[in-house]
C-alpha cells in the first residue's frame, strides 16, 4: 500500500493555501496565510517553510513525504519561478523552487495556478479520462489551463494558456497587464464589479446607499434578490465569456470547458448566460460538441489538490 503524502501550495493574490494531501486525494489538514502580509520574498519563504514543517509534523509524515506541488499566478513550469505577477507583492522574477529547495530535500514542482487546476481536474476532478479540455479559473482575474492530447500545453517558454489576456474588445477596458480589452477585464470578479458599477452609474445609482462595498458576492446576492442591474451584470459577463470561450475552441478544439473558481460558484447565474452566448457564437463546425461544466473538485480544497496533483501525477 503506497500511503504517500504530498504538500500542495496554492499561491494567490489574497491567500496562500498550504495543505497536506494523501494518496487518495484527500486534504488531511491545511493552513491559510495572507500573501500580502509578506512584502519581502524572504519572509514569505520563511513562513512557507515553517508552515509546511508544522503540517508534516502534525501527521508524523516522514518517509511517506513525496514532494511539494505549487500553483502560482505567472508560474513558470520550466524554471520554477514566478515572473512579473501583477497581483503579488514580489516584482520581477522570484525563484520560488530554488529558494524552497534550500529547506526541503524533496521533489518540488511549480506551475501556473490554472495549469495546476487543470491537472487537478484530470487526476481528481471533472476531467478524469479527458484528453482535450480547458480549465478556466474565474477569480480576481481569468486564468486558464489548456490540455491537448492528455498533456498540459506549456508552450516554448512555459507561459502558454493566458486566455484571460486575449483581446476580446479592441480598445476596450484597461487591463492590469497594460493593454486594453483583455477578456479578463470583462470576465472575472473584477470585470463583474466594473460592469455592475458602470450599470449603476448609467442608472444614476452610484455610489450605492450606505456606501455598500461592492464585491462579486454582493452582486451575486443582489442578483438572487432580483436586482435587475446585478442580473444584467452577470448576463453581460456571461455574454463576453461565451464569445471568449467560442474563440478558445477554434485553437485546440476541446470537448469540455471547466469553469472553476470564485465566480463559477455563482452557478446558473454565470453558467446560463455563458452557455447561451457560447452556443450563439460558436462556429458551426463545433456545434453540440463542447460541454461547459463546473469543477469536479471539492471547492475549499480544489486549488490545494490541483497543486498536489503536480506531484501525485508523477507517482
Amino acid at each position: 500500500m503506497n500511503k504517500y503524502r504530498v504538500i500542495g501550495i496554492d499561491i494567490g493574490g489574497t491567500n496562500t493555501k498550504i495543505g497536506l494531501v494523501d494518496a487518495d486525494g484527500v486534504c488531511l489538514t491545511k493552513k491559510i496565510i495572507k500573501t500580502a502580509d509578506y512584502i519581502a520574498l524572504e519572509s514569505y519563504i520563511e513562513v512557507i517553510v515553517t508552515t509546511v514543517n508544522k503540517l508534516l509534523a502534525l501527521f508524523n509524515v516522514e518517509e511517506s513525504f513525496k514532494g511539494i506541488g505549487i500553483g502560482a499566478p505567472n508560474g513558470n513550469h520550466y524554471k520554477g519561478t514566478i515572473e512579473y505577477p501583477p497581483n503579488l507583492p514580489w516584482k520581477g522574477v522570484s525563484p520560488i523552487v530554488e529558494l524552497l529547495k534550500r529547506h526541503f530535500d524533496t521533489e518540488i514542482i511549480l506551475t501556473n495556478d490554472a495549469d495546476a487546476a487543470a491537472m487537478g481536474e484530470m487526476i481528481y476532478g471533472a476531467a478524469k479520462g479527458k484528453k482535450d479540455f480547458i480549465v478556466i479559473t474565474l477569480g480576481t482575474g481569468l486564468g486558464s489551463g489548456i490540455v491537448v492530447n492528455g498533456e498540459i500545453v506549456n508552450g516554448h517558454d512555459g507561459f502558454a494558456g493566458e486566455i484571460g489576456h486575449s483581446i476580446i474588445e479592441i480598445n476596450g477596458r484597461d487591463c492590469g497587464c497594460g493593454r486594453k480589452g483583455c477578456l479578463e477585464t470583462y470576465c472575472s470578479a473584477t470585470g463583474l464589479i466594473n460592469t455592475y458599477i458602470e450599470l449603476l452609474k448609467k442608472n444614476n445609482s452610484y455610489p450605492p446607499v450606505n456606501n455598500t462595498i461592492i464585491d462579486s458576492l454582493y452582486i451575486y446576492q443582489q442578483a438572487l434578490k432580483g436586482d435587475k442591474l446585478a442580473i444584467e451584470a452577470f448576463d453581460f459577463t456571461g455574454e463576453m465569456l461565451g464569445i471568449g470561450l467560442a474563440n478558445a475552441v477554434v485553437y485546440t478544439s476541446p470537448d469540455t470547458i471547466i469553469l472553476y473558481g470564485g465566480l463559477a460558484n455563482a452557478k446558473e447565474m454565470i453558467f446560463s448566460p455563458t452557455i447561451k452566448s457560447f452556443n450563439n457564437n460558436l462556429m458551426n463546425l463545433y456545434k453540440d460538441k463542447v460541454r461547459i461544466i463546473p469543477s469536479g473538485l471539492k471547492e475549499d480544497d480544489a486549488a490545494i489538490l490541483g497543486a498536489a496533483s503536480l506531484i501525485s501525477h508523477r507517482i
Copy 2:
C-alpha cells in the same frame, strides 16, 4: 538507399494541385486541375485517380510509391473526410480517403490544408527543429496549423486550428461561416479586397476607372506604385492580423509564427504592419520571444510538399 516517392495533393477552392515528390522533398512533376469544374464529387475523384496514375506512370513509380498525402480545407484528419467546406463545390461530408482507397492500395492521409502546411514547414521548411510554432495560411481565407511540443494539434474531433474564425471584432464584418467579425474577414485576400473597396468608397473613388477588377495582386501592385489607399488597406490588414496573432500567442505560446500563402507573398507590405501591430499588442510576458517569418518552402510547390510530408513524416 530509400528512394521512395509520395503523391501530395493540395485541394483548394480554386485549384487542386497534384504532385509527385521524392524522398528529398523535391517535387518531380505536378498537374493542376480546376476544383470548381467538378461539381459532382464522383467526377472529381475520377480526375484525381486518372491524374495520379498518369504522374506515377510518367516516372515509372511502382514499388517505390509509398502513399498519398492530402491537404484540404475543413479536412478531418481522424476520419479522412472534408466536412462542410464553405469554398468547395461539395457540400456536407465528403469521404475523400475512403473513395480514393477504392482505387489505390496504399497509405492515404488527409488533413486540414493548414495542418499540412505546418507539417511541411516542420519537415522541409522554416520550422525544422521547432516544437512550438503556428503556421498561418493567408489565401482566400485565413487557415492555421498549430504545433505544440512537436505535434500538430488536432483537438478531440480533428478540427483544431481554425484561428481564422476567432472573433476579432464583435459584430464586425459578415463572415462566410455565418457569424460576424472573424479574423479572416479582415486578414485574407478577401479581407484586403473588402478593406480597399471600403477605402475607395469613403474616398468617392468606387467603382474604379475602367471597371478594373480588384484582386489582392492588383492592390499589391497599386501599393507598390504608391497608391495611398492601397497602402492603407495593407496597413489595416496588418494591424488586425497583428492583434489576431498576439491573441494566438496567449494560447500555445509559440516561438515562431510562419506566414504562408498568397497574401504573405506581398512581403514587407504585409509583414511590416503585421509585426508592428503584433509588438504593440503582445502581452509583456511574451515580448521579444516570438518571431514572425515567411514560409521556408518553395512557393509553387509548398502546398504539395505540405501534403506529401504527411506521408514522408511516417517513413
